[in-house]
């Protein structure tokens, strides 16, 4: 019996019980749809996390003072173990894998412009900062090396700060007062959005690090040094060079641990990706449970069908159907159920994903992989759960089947 004929008669058999076939398929439809949608959500999350991490600059290294970022007690222990301007200078001179470097200091406070005020963090940075962050200026310009040397009272505003302090006019060439110190605004940065932790990266004011140290924080050492490697694959080389240099400069004995921490974006990206991967797997495995339940539904209906059609099986056997003809017939019916369900499920899953995207503003990505995976899954389920009932039918004794009432 040719496959096409079996397919045809399978469709016909399923048509005879339209409602039942549909309800059986529904299990697979929901299962496949859920798997597709959940994978789309997970992959969307992964994508946006990666995007946000990339927005920090991909080949960026952060050097922090203190052995561990979180263990404040340790970092404060020795006065000499902090990062200085000279450290930054030495890195830029002696580490060949380093392309750009920006010393960093920080201050916070109230900013006043005219009759408006805003509270935010002020980052003191070098002129390479925007290169490292790959962050263009929208209006005006960035401050110059001269401004840094002279500790000039100039600053450039993040988009959020600019919008809040100068809702109607252009902030360029205006004056803002940061903790009573007047700063001239030289430019506004383009919008960068949230970072991987969900913080608004545009809620910031950048000023020369020298100015921040002398006028605002009054803390002589650097809070961080931001470094970019010459290329993505040079990151670990740059990390090693900086680490060796700083250990030497800080006179750290070989058995002592670092008094600084170097973090790179790839580590952060790996962590974040691992987290979203777990999310994806979790969502998909919950969804696959419903796929499994759908498969059990198919098996159940196929068993009922075999019992109902025992006589038909007997007739077919009496006119010469071999066991494998009967096996194939029922297996293909189960497969048609699960495949049709799978296809409808894929369509619904893709449609559902875009609905989730537009309603919940959550990025979703349907990949070919997830479609192929769920398609393959529904085939596997059809075969797996269809085999037992089909075998049961094929192994019937012809006379018993014929006499079945």
């Amino acid at each position: 019996m040719k496959i096409l004929n079996i397919l045809l008669s399978a469709f016909r058999a399923l048509q005879r019980n339209k409602m039942r076939s549909f309800l059986t398929m529904l299990g697979i439809i929901i299962g496949v749809g859920a798997v597709i949608a959940m994978l789309a959500i997970g992959q969307g999350a992964e994508y946006s996390v990666k995007e946000q991490i990339a927005s920090l600059g991909t080949n960026v290294l952060m050097v922090y003072p203190g052995a561990q970022q979180q263990a404040g007690v340790r970092s404060a222990a020795g006065g000499a173990t902090t990062l200085t301007e000279d450290d930054a200078l030495a890195i830029s001179k002696e580490c060949p894998a380093v392309q750009y470097i920006s010393p960093g200091s920080m201050a916070g406070g109230q900013i006043i412009a005219g009759n408006l005020n805003w509270s935010t963090g002020i980052s003191g940075v070098g002129t390479d900062y925007l290169e490292i962050r790959q962050w263009p200026v929208e209006y005006g310009e960035f401050f110059t090396d001269l401004d840094v040397k002279a500790a000039a009272k100039v600053c450039i505003l993040g988009k959020t700060v600019a919008d809040n302090l100068f809702p109607e006019s252009s902030p360029v060439d205006q004056t803002v007062r940061i903790r009573s110190v007047p700063f001239k605004v030289v430019g506004v940065l383009t919008k960068k959005g949230q970072n991987a932790m969900g913080q608004d990266q545009d809620d910031v004011i950048l000023a020369p690090y020298t100015t921040v140290i002398r006028r605002l924080s009054h803390w002589p050492n650097l809070r961080f040094i931001l470094v970019s490697a010459t290329s993505l694959k040079d990151i670990s080389a740059a990390q090693k060079q900086i680490s060796d240099l700083l250990r030497m400069r800080h006179k750290i004995q070989p058995y002592d641990s670092d008094d600084f921490t170097i973090r790179n974006q790839t580590d952060l990206a790996a962590t974040a990706t691992a987290t979203t991967d777990i999310l994806t797997i979790l969502l998909a495995s919950i969804a696959s449970v419903s796929l499994l339940v759908g498969g059990i539904g198919i098996m159940n209906i196929m068993l009922v069908s075999v019992t109902e059609r025992t006589r038909e099986i007997g007739i077919r056997m009496s006119i010469g159907a071999r066991s494998r003809d009967i096996l194939l017939q029922f297996l293909i019916e189960a497969l048609v159920l699960s495949l049709l369900g799978g296809i409808i499920g894929i369509i619904l899953g893709v449609a559902g994903s875009s609905v989730i995207s537009s309603i919940a503003k959550w990025p979703t990505i349907v990949t070919a992989f997830s479609v192929i995976l769920s398609f393959g899954f529904s085939i596997a389920i059809g075969i797996f759960f269809g085999y037992y009932p089909a075998r049961k039918a094929a192994m019937l004794n012809p006379i018993d089947a014929l006499r079945y009432e």
Partner: protein, 264 residues
Amino acid sequence: MIADIHTAPKDIKVTLIQIEHLVKIYQLGEVDVHALRGVSVNVSKGEFVAIMGASGSGKSTFMNILGCLDKPTKGSYILEGTDVGKLSRDELAAIRNKKIGFVFQGFNLLSRTSALENVELPLFYGPTSTKARKAKGIEALERVGLGDRIHHYPNQLSGGQQQRVAIARALVNDPSIILADEPTGNLDSRTSVEVMGIFQELNNHGITVILVTHEPDIADFAKRHIVFRDGKIKTDKINNRTKVASEVIKELPLIDDDEEEAAA
């Protein structure tokens, strides 16, 4: 595998079925039921045999073994030179497909499947192409006088017509034997005679027909009577007063059935 003996001349008796010391024992729990207790019989090509007997006489068991639906416990069954007892499940299915045509009491047509598709069904399990299948199906239906109803569904056909579809299905693969198990059991007397007429006509064209019935009236249309009793053959004799269905039907009074059929 099986020698082709269709080429043998008609007047020479060619043995089709050779059965020796056939024994069938069913095990029902701890009780052994001896359905057949040593049956030996030969059937030649072109015979029209009626197998008779009360229920429990073993005639149905015999029929099942004859139709390769069941295997004997002991004894041998040689069908056209093939020892059927030694065949596997799939080989038996192939024999049923090519050499045997079944006609059942309850018609056993697939519901919601057209007459033509029912008739084509045996060809699905063989090597026939789609085109040849349809042609053969139509030919078989025309042979039983249903050429104008090929697309009707079983529920649109009368009992007699359904049985004729079943006969067409049995014929479609040019079998060596047609096995009919109480083919008139669900039909009224006039339709029964009509159906027997079809069997007689097929037999006149050289097809071997073996019929199981408990009605002597029906058995009268066959040329040979084998009577079973308690799992053994009680009598086996030639029927000298074979009735001819086409003549019997002329003597029967007309009943409404025919008009209903015409209306359907």
